[in-house]
């Protein structure tokens, strides 16, 4: 059953108990994301150090299990990655959600890949893809420090 793919144990867990939820004092980059059609919101905070490495990352927001889990897993994976790595991971994730059957990047462990692949269940739920990608697009905004909000209606 597809629902089981969508709401895997790991998603339910991260959805209910999102990691890295909150804000921290000395962030130096941030961005807000918003899906106006459903009201999902996410605010990503980053501390990027002199080597362009994410030394800390947290998020605030509310939304469905998918978007919360996606933000939670994303923040876990991004810590200590540098700009290039971040971009590679984001691209890999977005491609996977859209077309690719698998993740290709070698930057994360097989365990982490499994974790991230748990979000692939949304592929069968086109209206829910935006829930999964909102935090990632917001991270892009934060990294490039675009002013204003990311709005998931913008892309694809």
């Amino acid at each position: 059953m597809d629902l089981k793919d969508l709401y895997q144990e790991i998603i339910l867990d991260h959805g209910k108990n999102p990691r890295n939820l909150g804000k921290f004092e000395n962030f130096n980059k941030d961005a807000k994301g918003h899906n106006p059609l459903c009201g999902d919101k996410v605010h990503v905070y980053l501390k990027v150090d002199e080597n362009k490495k994410i030394s800390d990352i947290k998020f605030e927001g509310h939304g469905c299990a998918i978007s919360m889990a996606s933000a939670s897993i994303m923040t876990e994976l991004m810590k200590d990655k540098d700009q290039k790595e971040v971009n590679e991971l984001i691209e890999d994730f977005l491609k996977m959600i859209k077309d690719n059957p698998e993740l290709k990047s070698n930057l994360i462990s097989d365990d982490d890949k499994t974790k991230l692949m748990s979000l692939s269940g949304v592929k069968k739920y086109p209206m829910r893809v935006k829930c999964a990608t909102l935090p990632w697009h917001t991270l892009i905004s934060a990294m490039t420090n675009k002013p204003g909000e990311v709005n998931t209606e913008k892309e694809d």
Binding site: Y7, K16, C38, C64, M68, C131
Partner: protein, 405 residues
């Protein structure tokens, strides 16, 4: 036609969704269409199609008569005084924009106030918001109470000597509150304030009588009323349609057109610029006929019973929190589940063929007041049954199971 097996009149229910029967509980968003309406569109395009009003040939004459016939059907359905008080628009949203724009142009100036409520759909707020910028008016919001209701007092409290128009919903698309609009209109009129009623949720579910209500404007969304998409109705008292300036400009709405200036046509043409939604208007006549055949009183009764049943079933379910407990509730059951986000509810219900809506339902102000980012909403139409509501409850239990396992 027996209301108990009215589903048969709606071909959509012959289809399966994820191998399940369709339990359609999203009628506040848009209703399904009876076969007679769809057939009318088909026949019009394949046997009778022509543009309206401009040509003298056979098909054009026939189409024009059919088109004007719907105007009269709508007039009678809502008991307006005159068919020329019925303006066809592309939707209720356009109807409200039309009033806000033309009323604003003609009557509003800096410092004037517009009164709406915290219950309003974005369609009954954004068009007025534009006048803040263009005219410097202020918008006041009557408070919604903890039951998701608007009382006459809450309106009275916000009326000031500067209030120039009141725009208010008939039936909330979130809490289901049926507002005491007749009394509210009387109150407003006693202070010389005209009233626009957003009737999107009123018109499909409640018996209407414009002359009795005495509202100045009433906006209707035809696709929520067993009619085609791309069509709305603005009812407006004749004096307003005569006094207000035209809205969109184009063919058919003019009198004389010269390089130096333009005179405008009479009603009903003045507000129907360009080629209208001919096929949709003609088919909407069948929607009215369909409702009339059942009898709007019967529909009201059927839906009242269903709403009550739905409330009972959901109140018995301890995980469900119903949103709004208004005095007079119509056809809308919004709810939340502890620990399950409305979007996740909608997805899980959909797997069982149960179609509901999740989100802010174009009512962000209300959701902010409720302290919720989103709610789940089951809304009813004439074709729904108690079994549909039982299925809703069963599927809700499935959500709970998935999320709490």
């Amino acid at each position: 036609m027996n209301i108990k097996d009215i589903k048969k009149e709606f071909p959509i229910f012959d289809n399966k969704v994820h191998n399940n029967d369709l339990v359609y509980l999203d009628s506040a968003n848009s209703s399904q269409k009876p076969k007679v309406v769809v057939d009318r569109i088909y026949d019009f395009y394949t046997k009778e199609f022509s543009n309206v009003g401009r040509s003298v040939h056979y098909l054009a004459v026939a189409a024009t008569n059919l088109y004007e016939n719907t105007r009269v059907l709508v007039q009678k359905y809502i008991n307006a005084k005159d068919p020329n008080e019925i303006v066809f628009t592309k939707g209720a949203t356009e109807a409200i924009n039309l009033v806000a724009n033309t009323f604003g142009q003609k009557y509003l100036k800096e410092g004037d106030e517009i009164l709406i409520t915290e219950l309003e759909h974005h369609s009954n707020y954004v068009p007025w918001h534009y006048l803040r910028k263009s005219k410097g008016v202020k918008i006041n919001f009557a408070d919604v109470d903890e039951n998701g209701d608007i009382s006459i007092e809450s309106i009275e409290k916000k009326i000031t000597p500067k209030t120039k128009i009141l725009a208010i919903t008939h039936l909330s698309n979130v809490t289901g509150a049926i507002l005491p609009i007749k009394e509210i209109i009387q109150l407003a009129h006693s202070k010389n304030i005209p009233v626009l009623v957003d009737g999107c949720q009123g018109a499909p579910h409640l018996k209407l009588d414009m002359q009795d209500l005495d509202c100045d404007f009433y906006a209707i969304s035809c696709h929520k009323m067993y009619g085609p998409t791309g069509l709305g109705v603005l009812y407006a008292k004749k004096k307003w349609l005569e006094e207000l300036p035209p809205y969109q400009g184009g063919g058919g709405m003019i009198g004389e057109v010269k390089k130096e200036g333009i005179t405008f046509g009479d009603l009903p043409n003045k507000y129907e610029a360009g080629t209208m939604a001919t096929a949709q208007v003609i088919a909407f006549g069948e929607s009215i006929n369909f409702i009339n055949k059942l009898g709007i009183e019967k529909i009201e009764e059927h839906e009242r019973e269903l709403t009550k049943y739905g409330e009972e079933v959901l109140r018995k379910n301890n995980s469900v929190k119903l949103i709004g407990n208004p005095k007079n509730k119509g056809s809308v059951l919004s709810f939340t589940l502890d620990g399950v986000h409305p979007h996740d509810i909608a997805t899980i219900l959909d797997e069982d063929g149960v179609a509901i809506r999740a989100g802010h339902h174009c009512c962000q102000i209300l959701h902010e007041k409720l302290g919720l980012a989103a709610t789940a909403r089951a809304s009813l139409g004439v074709y729904n049954t108690k079994e549909d509501l039982d299925q809703l409850n069963n599927s809700i239990n499935k959500c709970i199971k998935i999320f709490n396992s």
